[in-house]
């Protein structure tokens, strides 16, 4: 299965397309998906390039286990140098694209250069074609996919596409597939737009072979049973990722009015249960037994009728709590709009919430906002601002390059109110009561981001013994504590690096459920599918290699320990409301710094966050970056 998988190099400037086999040695070092993408990113990109130049390379990678019948194995990893942060650009997308790419004969694509006119790529049964796409330009992300299917007369084509935001080089434009799936973060849609690349379409009929098909099938069945038997998966199957809101908002762990409050009072309409009013059923990505998104229909209102999918917990915060909109319908409309335009939901909501706080504080006024009254809870302003960002109109244009440039343009102390790290907006979670989460967003290689580590297991009141067993060292059971939390973050970072490289879904590993598949199960799945034999320790070392490669990339781009920090408000402003467990909490500067030291040590990096020679040797990263492939 593994040895005959291919990578295609596509130069959009010259039209040259080269195909190569992905070497087995690279598999043993980086598996596939995110792992191989990070290897390619570090080795093929020249340092300090302009992310919007021809020299940036967009990498698309299917996971090593892509296509197996369990654990949502259709994940695709997309990477480039981020035009939003200048650091690692990397985002993971579900849906059905990655398996189709594999059926078309490829595991990886590396796209460089810039097309003179808009184009799309068609990857079909061993061949890559560059197609003219002028007629697709200005089409939204839904229309684009439909037209490609009509053009090629093939309903089974799956496409990664960009919308208005990507075309207009909004720095946090995303890449989308299907009605709902998005590689949301770090602005990879902007990279596609900069290359005049409207879409990447895939279609194939090549079978995927496995080393032990019968045993693999039986083990996959067990994996589906394992994940669907967890309480988390059962609740998620019913109401989607929005169920997290029940816990976080009830306790007081959710950013409200940007960062002024940590709980949305009178937020009952945003409770996940209310999606039932609009839902016609749930929907699953490829190979997923959990099916965490809703298919919803809005029958009334100015945007009706509309059919949408989702929304995720993320959108509940981006267009709900953070901007103080308290209606489920607002979330459904805004979710639809960002999907249509191809904007990252989280970055968009984060910027708008920040702008609303600046407006309230009088730092910006109607002159700057084109007369828009950026008042909390004003959904019409929210919808209009989403559109203005996507089309770079007026005030939207000021936000469209992300936090860093917006702070520069606005000035007047606006930086203090920005909840961003390395230039990227944070999720709507409030990490002041949870030091583990706080460390995770500070150290994430792609900027403020909860999905590099999401260390949530200590929130379930589990005994310290069990935590020790999972994490291989002491971790305090109390989630307010700082003790052992660096270990949690480190361990989860390695686990997710491997998960993303196998192409399976993070929700179906130790994410919110303890008794979910992890190292041992991954090891067995890999062996049955490919005959590669990796022990738990070996897989952890691969995770470490991937994470350290990302670190090396960021160091080369000029990031350092000073960038692994939290916004100042985390240290200064205590959480004002919520249950006692979440109220009156700030992050302690000194303890945070100690956690960071411990965290670097666990990775084998020095006190400045630079991997030591010993670590580089252990991870076979001592050579200068070379184009191995």
């Amino acid at each position: 299965m593994v040895v005959n998988r291919k990578i295609a190099y596509i130069n959009l400037s010259t039209g040259k397309i080269t195909q190569k086999i992905v070497p087995k040695t690279l598999r043993t070092l980086y598996l596939g998906g995110r792992g191989i993408n990070m290897y390619l990113l570090y080795n093929h990109l020249s340092p300090k390039i302009d992310p919007l130049s021809q020299n940036n390379i967009l990498f698309v990678g299917a996971g090593l286990l892509g296509g197996i019948p369990c654990l949502g194995s259709g994940r695709c990893d997309i990477a480039a140098k981020s035009p939003l942060t200048g650091a690692v650009g990397d985002s993971n997308i579900g849906g059905f694209f990655a398996p189709e790419l594999r059926f078309a004969g490829f595991d990886h694509l590396a796209i460089t250069g810039k097309a003179e006119e808009p184009v799309y790529l068609l990857v079909r049964n061993g061949q890559v074609h560059i197609r003219e796409a002028t007629h697709l330009w200005r089409k939204d992300t839904f229309e684009t996919q439909t037209i490609i299917r009509e053009d090629e007369d093939d309903e089974d084509i799956k496409s990664l596409v960009i919308g208005a935001a990507g075309e207009n080089l909004v720095r946090f434009a995303n890449v989308r597939t299907g009605r709902k799936n998005s590689a949301g973060r770090t602005g990879l849609g902007c990279v596609m737009g900069s290359k005049n690349l409207k879409a990447i379409a895939a279609r194939g009929t090549n079978p995927l072979e496995f080393s032990h098909p019968d045993d693999l099938l039986e083990y996959c069945r067990q994996m589906n049973d394992m994940i669907t038997s967890t309480r988390w998966a059962k609740a998620q199957s019913r109401w989607g990722t929005m169920i997290i809101y029940s816990n976080t908002n009830t306790a007081g762990l959710i950013r409200t009015r940007n960062f002024q409050l940590n709980q949305l009072e009178k937020g009952q309409d945003l409770e996940p249960e209310n999606i039932d009013r609009y839902s016609i059923g749930t929907s699953g990505c490829y190979g997923c037994a959990v099916h965490c998104r809703h298919r919803y229909i809005l029958k009334s209102g100015s945007f009706a009728p509309l059919y949408g999918e989702g929304p995720e917990y993320t959108s509940l915060g981006a267009f709900g709590t953070m901007v103080d909109c308290r209606k489920m319908e607002t979330i459904l409309v805004a979710n639809h709009l960002v999907n249509k335009y191809g904007l990252d939901t989280l970055e968009t909501g984060g910027l708008i919430a920040w702008a609303m706080e600046l407006y309230e504080k009088g730092i910006i006024d109607n002159n700057m906002t084109d007369g828009l009254k950026l008042e909390w809870g004003n959904e019409e302003v929210l919808y209009e601002l989403i559109r203005k960002i996507a089309y770079r109109e007026g005030f939207g244009d000021k936000l469209a390059n992300g936090f860093r440039e917006a702070i520069d343009k606005i000035g007047k102390g606006s930086e203090y109110y920005a909840i961003q790290i390395k230039g990227m907006s944070n999720l709507h979670s409030d990490e002041r009561p949870t030091p583990s989460f706080a460390l995770g967003i500070a150290t994430s290689t792609r900027g403020a981001d909860h999905l590099r580590s999401r260390p949530a297991i200590d929130m379930y009141g589990l005994p310290a013994d069990l935590l020790k067993e999972i994490y291989g060292g002491p971790v305090a059971a109390d989630y307010n504590s700082y003790d052992g939390k660096s270990r949690m973050v480190w361990w989860q970072e390695l686990l997710y690096a491997v998960t993303d490289s196998l192409g399976i879904c993070k929700f179906q590993t130790v994410f919110c459920a303890v008794h979910a598949p992890q190292w041992k199960e991954f090891s067995r799945l890999i062996q049955l599918a490919t005959d590669f034999k990796f022990s738990k320790d070996q897989l952890m070392q691969i995770g470490e290699r991937i994470y350290t490669t990302e670190r090396l990339f960021n160091l080369r781009e000029g990031f350092s320990r000073k960038d692994d920090d939290l916004p100042k408000r985390y240290f200064k402003e205590p959480t004002p409301i919520g249950l006692p467990v979440a109220r009156n909490k700030v992050i302690d500067r000194e303890k945070f710094s100690e956690m960071l030291d411990e965290y670097y040590k666990l990775h084998g990096w020095d006190s400045m966050g630079v991997p030591t020679t010993k670590t580089l040797k252990k991870l076979a990263l001592t050579k200068k970056p070379t184009n191995l492939l």
Binding site: P69, F96, F210, P213, C220, Y307
Partner: protein, 159 residues
Amino acid sequence: MLAIDPEKCTGCRLCETACSIHHEKTCSPERARIRVTKWENEGIYIPMVCQQCDIPICETVCPMQALRRDTKTGALIIDYKLCVGCKLCMQFCPFGGIGVNEETSKIIKCDLCSGDPVCVKFCKPEALQYLQVIALNLKKRKAAAEKFSKYLKQMLTAL
């Protein structure tokens, strides 16, 4: 029989994947006996598979009499020793329940996995169920009656 409830289908295609691995030893939806037909922009997903008809057109049109019924499961099975691959069965089936493995040119169709269908084992939302015909009828009757009983209760409380 293999009962399909499209309202419960989430479109994940685990049935296709599992089916192809079980029968063909590779992951290839093209070679799966069951396929999920989708209207992605409307959110409608319908699994399509051989209905094992009581009056099977495939069997009628087969010039080689290569289709026979498994007395235990009721599935229509292809006898590959007789099949000449003319594809008449495929052309006449009103459900698209018969396919071809493009590589081997072999006709493929659902054989109910000798009475233990793999697709059902992978379908967590229970959009696919393997039931006795009578049991399915009872289930459908009960579901319809439940809706009816709700209206009745509403009417009674309104009085």
